[in-house]
């Protein structure tokens, strides 16, 4: 009897918490549809309503989807990783420079990129998890380190042509057509989109059904209770950073397939887009709450804003950055107000 009384309010509170957080996700999905439909109405003459526009958003953001999945995993533990943009840059540079000069082939270089990502994640994870340094400081150093190493490999503007690597070129330009038509065109997607969707589904299932996925939520919710439950908090943190950097490397390959080029300044600000996608998608910065599906919609919102600005053609190129930052600001403030209300209720 006594336990029943004790359990009841706890269960009710849990329900409320889920409602508050799913509300954020619903706002996000609604925002995406509002933005997209607004774009369709405003720019219908420029072909915005064509289904291919949507698939183009997916194609150009395939890399970002992978990166945002990794970012969400790190943010679930209450950490953050701002080195992802630079890591994507070094991945692109390794792919472009390596395929041209080291003769390892497309798949060999992809393997190199993934190993680099794993090592990078391991070092960052060790500093954050084992040494207990603030994740922001570690990953900021990582950001500058990776950007600098990109310059060490080459400071030139490289592009991947069919001469550099026939395999990579063919894979990147392979089009998978849909068996139906929209406005007289058969819409298509690229291999990168397939990779990113597979990553999205795998991470979604992992977070939901595996022990590791759940321990990410537990560590982010409360480190102390997680360690009291017998979870290895340090190891979980290290693994989350390794996972993030690994997904980042996969994202880097997708990104490179889309741009087919590499330069030192590439993918600057990608970390911002990944973080804002996760936050917009309902991942709490304090950790413990979030979902990759929300992050996916966050990426789509970012992509839609970019596409709308590009379709307009008259707006300055810095508008997407400003709008992304404003959206991030809006959602961060919303989150903190939710948290304040929750703590007041207690």
């Amino acid at each position: 009897m006594k336990t029943a009384i004790l359990e009841k309010p706890a269960a009710a509170e849990k329900k409320k918490a889920i409602n508050g957080n799913s509300l954020l996700l619903i706002i996000t999905i609604a925002l995406f549809f509002v933005l997209y439909i607004a774009g369709c109405i405003a720019y219908s003459s420029k072909g915005f309503a064509n289904l291919q526009t949507f698939f183009n958003i997916l194609r150009s953001n395939a890399g970002l989807i992978c990166v945002a999945c990794g970012m969400t995993c790190v943010m679930l533990t209450g950490g953050i990783d701002i080195s992802v943009g630079s890591l994507v840059a070094i991945d692109c540079m390794l792919l472009s420079y390596g395929m041209a000069n080291w003769h390892l082939g497309a798949f060999g270089m992809c393997a190199v990129v993934i190993v680099v990502g794993l090592v990078f994640g391991l070092v960052q994870g060790y500093c954050v998890g084992i040494l207990g340094i603030q994740p922001f400081i570690v990953t900021m150093a990582g950001m500058f380190f990776a950007r600098g190493m990109t310059a060490v490999i080459s400071t030139a503007q490289l592009s991947i042509t069919a001469d550099v690597s026939k395999t990579f070129y063919d894979i990147a330009n392979f089009r998978i057509y849909f068996p139906f038509k929209s406005d007289g065109i058969r819409p298509y997607i690229s291999i990168g989109v397939i990779i990113s969707i597979v990553v999205l589904i795998v991470i979604f299932l992992m977070l939901r059904y595996t022990k590791f996925g759940r321990s990410l939520y537990a560590v982010g919710g409360s480190e102390q209770s997680a360690s009291m439950m017998g979870l290895n908090v340090k190891a979980t943190k290290v693994k989350s950073y390794v996972l993030c950097s690994l997904l980042c490397s996969i994202g880097g390959i997708c990104y490179c397939m889309n741009t087919m080029s590499a330069s030192v300044a590439q993918a600057t600000g990608l970390e911002m887009e990944a973080i804002s996608s996760s936050v917009i998608g309902g991942t709490l910065l304090t950790g413990g709450v979030g979902n990759v599906i929300g992050s996916f919609f966050g990426v789509l919102i970012n992509g839609t804003i970019r596409t709308i600005v590009q379709t307009n053609g008259k707006l300055a190129s810095s508008w997407p950055n400003i709008l992304t930052a404003a959206l991030l600001c809006f959602f961060i403030v919303l989150q903190s107000i939710f948290a304040l209300v929750k703590s007041r209720r207690k």
């Binding site: 500058f144 400071t155 973080i275 300055a316 600001c329 961060i332 903190s336 107000i337």
Partner: protein
């Protein structure tokens, strides 16, 4: 042995040690390149065309921006246990505002000042204050982690700067404006501006109780509130001062190149400023701070950068070394490493006792 321990515990040990290390590398490099007669080239002060020159003056002049930023950053780190990563972007935004106002209708190529210099500088400082207030409100009043809150302006400020400049590089080729970043008479102006900023802030902290308040809030926010300090207001003020410092640094940087290059002004300066604070022996976890340490740290970093160029390392590669230095310093400060050191020391001490017995 005990003496060495005492010296290493002194807070200014780390920055001064690093400075000496950099100087030694320079002297060795000079001797290796040009023989013993060139050994002290580093300290040589020359007068060319009536302007003060020489490597040490160059470092002091170039390092002024970082020193000004480091002053604001020290306060932010001390009060909120977090860093303001938007300083570089805010620098760029303030430089753009200043230059666009000065250029007026003649943008992007102006030689005449459209408004008095002081008005444009004050406007830039106002924008810096606004940025600081935005960051401060998010951190102090909404309780958002400092780095996440400043992340917003980190992207947005530079983008807004580009928007203000209409995606162009606005040149203001006017002697009055150029003097801000170059020379007044024979002496480099940035050094004077940095000295004034540092003195004003240091005096302000010494003469009022603000310095003590900031440390108290940084050590324990809740306890400070209970003793009657307005913790939120103090943290807010720190961010405003940091924004102001970024604005001054931005104007100096713009004056140096007599233009507002939004994409490049203040690029990677946030790393330099944070590194300066860490090198100064200040804990990045907040609490006690030492302004002198941060300033020495700032000039040490500029010395490192200049030395890198001197050794022929590309400017794009220098962040690699700085990133490694940051990680090493922060790792030494981290609790895990401190515990490990304490264990080794304890083992040694117990070993000695066993020997005695």
């Amino acid at each position: 042995m005990n003496k060495i321990k005492k010296i290493t515990k002194y807070q200014l040990f780390l920055p001064i040690f690093c400075m000496l290390l950099v100087l030694c590398i320079n002297i060795i490099h000079d001797i290796a390149v040009g023989g013993f007669s060139n050994g002290l080239d580093f300290f040589k002060i020359t007068m060319t065309n009536g302007l003060m020159g020489g490597r040490i003056i160059n470092i002091l002049s170039r390092g002024s921006e970082i020193a000004i930023l480091a002053v604001g950053m020290t306060l932010v780190v001390s009060a909120s246990a977090g860093t303001d990563i938007s300083v570089g972007s805010v620098m760029s935004l303030c430089a753009s505002v200043c230059c666009v106002l000065l250029a007026g209708k003649a943008a992007p190529q102006a030689t005449e000042l459209a408004v008095p210099l002081i008005v444009a500088v004050l406007a830039a400082m106002g924008v810096g204050c606004l940025c600081g207030m935005f960051n401060g409100a998010l951190v102090a009043h909404l309780g958002i982690q400092p780095m996440v809150a400043t992340l917003i302006l980190w992207t947005a400020a530079r983008a807004i700067g580009l928007l203000v400049c209409n995606d162009l590089i606005v040149y203001v080729r006017n002697e009055q404006f150029q003097a801000l970043g170059n020379y007044i008479g024979f002496f480099p102006t940035p050094i004077i501006i940095a000295a004034v900023c540092i003195t004003v802030v240091a005096l302000f902290l010494k003469l009022t109780a603000l310095g003590t308040y900031i440390q108290s809030v940084g050590i324990n926010k809740a306890a400070s509130r209970i003793t009657g300090l307005n913790s939120k207001l103090i943290i807010f003020l720190c961010y405003v001062i940091c924004g102001l410092c970024a604005a001054i640094a931005g104007v100096v940087a713009a004056g140096r190149i007599s233009s507002a290059d939004s994409n490049n002004i203040g690029l990677n300066y946030e790393l330099d400023a944070i590194l300066a604070v860490a090198l100064g022996g200040n804990s990045l976890g907040g609490g006690k701070f030492n302004l002198a340490g941060s300033v020495i740290g700032a000039f040490t970093i500029q010395a490192i950068t200049t030395t890198m160029y001197n050794l022929g390392v590309s400017s794009a590669v220098t962040p690699v070394f700085k990133a490694v230095v940051v990680i090493v310093i922060v790792a030494i400060q981290s609790p895990a490493v401190k515990q490990a050191f304490a264990k080794i020391n304890a083992r040694r001490a117990s070993g000695k006792e066993v020997e005695r017995a």
